[in-house]
Amino acid sequence: MSGCALVTGGSKGIGAATALSLADLGHAVAIVYRADADAAASVVAQIEAQGGTALAVQADLAEAAAADRVFDVVEEQLGEVSVLVNNAGTRADGLAMALTDAQWEQVLNLNLAAAFRCSRRALRRMVRARHGRIVNVASVIAFRGNPGQVNYAAAKAGMLAMTRTTAMEVARRGVTVNAVAPGFIPTALTEDVDPEMVKNFIPARRVGTPEEVAACIRFLASDAASYVTGTALTVDGGLSA
């Protein structure tokens, strides 16, 4: 498998499962993490134990210069990035009328602006290479309202718009840009939500797993998805059906 994969927010949850799955697909994998070095090291160790190659890079991608710095390190150590998974995300919930600028910016900066900056950097090489895969991890909240998450919903809906537009811009260069839209997946980001409470609203009557989302990302990142671009694959047990 040529080129490496870069997974933002790769130390836990969906990002960690994705990193492991892409390593299994044959990619060297760079994991970008913000705070939990032990978790990132654990993912790297798991990949290496399977015979793969992995690298953990610490960065706060909410900072404007961080994406370029991360890519500089990854390209130097693992080569060009042929698969980018924009997974890093955060929440800062509040009703719209009470949401602070800081809460708005925190979520938009990481969930949307960082994905844009990483994509912009990755596309420069992907376009020249006439091949590349970008997968944006959005959310079913992009399709529907969710009181208390105006910033999160706006960021994820923006991510889908960015996915479609970027996909159209680079499709003729063999680069695909897609999104997955997970429903309720128990991770650190949702640890304040009771899975037992939400599963009654899900047609499948259960919550999803990070591995089920990772399987969809793996497909979109693979050669099998070469004619799939500009779309969002929901992974939500029927929640948004």
Binding site: R124, V127, R128, E169, V170, R172, R173
Partner: protein
């Protein structure tokens, strides 16, 4: 930045780059228009990358705003390269 590139080498390099975007190499003449060659905005962004990498010239969108032909594009690159080299001297 290498100062040893000749005008002919830069012309050849830019024509090769434009040909890599689709048109036959023999269609890429100095008088050919970018429109006739079906060179679009994505191609120009990629051309700017190539020019930066090969000749150390940072093209901005405004630099190519009024460019219609291949020859004009090459003139813009060479002129900007000379300004850049003069600035480094």
């Amino acid at each position: 930045m290498s100062e040893t590139k000749t005008r002919e080498e830069i012309t050849e390099g830019i024509c090769d780059a434009l040909a890599s975007f689709g048109p036959d190499r023999d269609q890429v003449t100095l008088d050919a228009t970018l429109a006739d060659l079906d060179i679009d905005s994505l191609d120009l962004v990629e051309l700017a990358q190539i020019v930066d990498e090969q000749y150390g010239v940072r093209l901005e969108a405004i630099d190519l705003k009024d460019v219609e032909t291949v020859g004009q594009a090459i003139d813009v690159v060479i002129a900007k390269r000379e300004r850049t080299l003069a600035g480094q001297a």
